[in-house]
Amino acid sequence: MKHIQPVAVKTIDVSERAAKACRECQTPCKSACKTSSTVGNQVCETRKKPERFIW
């Protein structure tokens, strides 16, 4: 494409809507925010890169 460049495509998996989410991921206020909800900065527990710490 010449005029429109994709940055990321279909980053929200809508098919998961029907599935029961595992909810093993981090609670937002465990991260560096503490005073604002920042779910967008979290990562999926099953898709994230292995990390020792929980950010």
Binding site: H3, I4, T11, D13, P28, V39, R47, E51
Partner: protein, 443 residues
């Protein structure tokens, strides 16, 4: 930049495509001749741009339509506790939501019994959750270090099948070298409060005598972060109306040698002199623009650092369920006061109308109806203002404590917070766009 909200597809438009789309959206009924006249685009350029939009629409990643998810009252179960192990602090920061650490009550330290009982309650309520989180908070949690150590040991020894994740938020003043191996052995993620260079930090972060804290903590924090070159900490600042130049503060933190940095807006009632106001928004936007430029420049020169707001993982971000149930306060996440009282989150500590129970009681949850109320309030689409917001799947409905603090309701968003949040998300997406456009990928 163009975001297709339901699918999270993000596109960067060139100037001509932006002009074309803006014109069409302003009046979808206008003729091609009108569009050509208003945009100054040639017929062939318009056809080219329109063709690209049509490809994306056909692929289902632009102007997509999604049904609103149904609310599931059973979606959230407790998995995370904030232990306010000290209702006491040796700092007296001007903007502290916890009223200098005592949460508008008596100073107190949590006992081992309360901390252990809290962990028992967490395990009982968590069902089959494997990952359980405990955050040591205050006040200043290092004023009660022995209880922090005991609680971690108790959790691991008593419930070894669970995957324990610990965090600790500290002002750094009581950090000692002998604590570092304990924090390391327990994989404790550490949030260190520091607002920037000396001027920005000491403007609001002071001892009770009014003296600045910067020189007293810098060496301690540096000694600790030096043990973690690969992460496991965030130096977290707060910006307020008198320290609005947060791009400069982040830069100073980076120049001090910190690689993992966060900077959050203060949340204070409008009558506070330190509160942010709508009139600060242009300055906040400018700060993000400056920060984006610095952040990208440092990445390109191999001096990169992590800034929490820009830490958006577009490929491995949260699932839809996570995005529509917010922070989980009061249902998935609760806070425990030193006397064992349970509150929906650390910012609700001491708000008696939302006291859920006490970890020393049986059952610990005395008011289960509050869990249902908070589970509902967490649901993104329970908040009318959020339902049509473009940022809804990034902020997920915002902070319930901020809503309560500003509006005395859980479901009416804190408006200024929303506006700042959108600036923040736009900035993060701009960073992602810049990274994706770079000829050489940026790490």
């Amino acid at each position: 930049m163009l975001v297709d909200v339901p699918t999270g597809s993000i596109f960067s438009l060139d100037e001509r495509a932006y002009r074309y789309l803006s014109c069409i959206l302003a009046d979808p009924e206008q003729t091609d001749a009108d569009v050509a006249r208003r945009t100054g685009l040639s017929g062939s350029a318009m056809a080219e741009i329109e063709g690209e939009f049509e490809q994306l629409i056909a692929a289902g990643c632009l102007f997509s339509v999604a049904a609103q998810p149904e609310e599931d009252p059973s979606a959230l179960t407790l998995k995370s506790l904030c232990l306010n192990v000290a209702h006491e602090c040796n700092f007296s920061c001007a903007y502290c939501f916890a009223h200098g650490g005592d949460y508008h009550g008596e100073t107190a330290l949590m006992s081992r019994q309360v901390a252990r009982s809290a962990i028992d309650v967490l395990v009982r309520q968590a069902g089959s959750h494997r990952n359980l989180e405990v955050d040591f908070f205050g006040g200043e949690p290092l004023m009660n270090w022995d209880v922090v150590v005991d609680a971690m040991a108790y959790a691991r020894a008593t419930y070894p099948a669970r995957n324990w994740r610990f965090t600790l938020t500290t002002n750094g003043s009581l950090l000692r070298d002998d604590m570092f191996p304990v924090l390391e052995a327990n994989d404790v993620s550490v949030v260190l409060s520091l607002d920037g260079g000396q001027r920005a930090n000491d403007a609001n972060r002071t001892f009770s005598n009014g003296g600045g804290t910067f020189t007293a903590i810098l060496d301690r924090i540096r000694r600790f972060t030096a043990t973690r070159p690969d992460g496991g900490y965030f130096v977290r600042g707060t910006y307020a109306s008198n320290t609005l130049e947060f791009a400069s503060s982040v830069r100073q933190l980076h120049e001090l040698g910190f690689r993992y940095i966060s900077m959050e807006p203060v949340v204070l009632a409008a009558d506070s002199s330190l509160a942010l106001r709508a009139s600060d928004l242009p300055a906040i936007r400018t700060q993000y623009e400056e920060l984006i430029a610095y952040f990208l420049s440092e990445l390109r020169s191999d001096q990169g650092f992590e800034f929490f707001h820009f830490k958006l993982d577009l490929e491995a971000g949260p699932c839809l369920s996570k995005r529509i149930y917010g922070c989980g306060a009061g249902a998935e996440y609760m806070a425990v006061a030193p006397n064992g009282d349970l509150f929906p989150c650390h910012q609700f500590d001491g708000v008696q109308e939302y006291r859920l129970g006490n970890v020393l009681q049986t059952p610990a949850i005395q008011r289960p109806e509050l869990i249902r109320e908070f589970a509902h309030a967490n649901f993104l689409f329970a908040k009318e203002a959020c339902s049509a917001c473009w940022a809804r799947f990034y902020c997920s409905g915002g902070c319930l404590a901020n809503n309560y603090s500003m509006n005395r309701t859980l479901t009416e968003p804190y408006e200024l917070g929303c506006l700042i949040q959108k600036e923040r998300i736009e900035a993060a997406l701009a960073v992602k766009a810049a990274q994706s456009q770079a000829e050489q990928p940026i790490a």
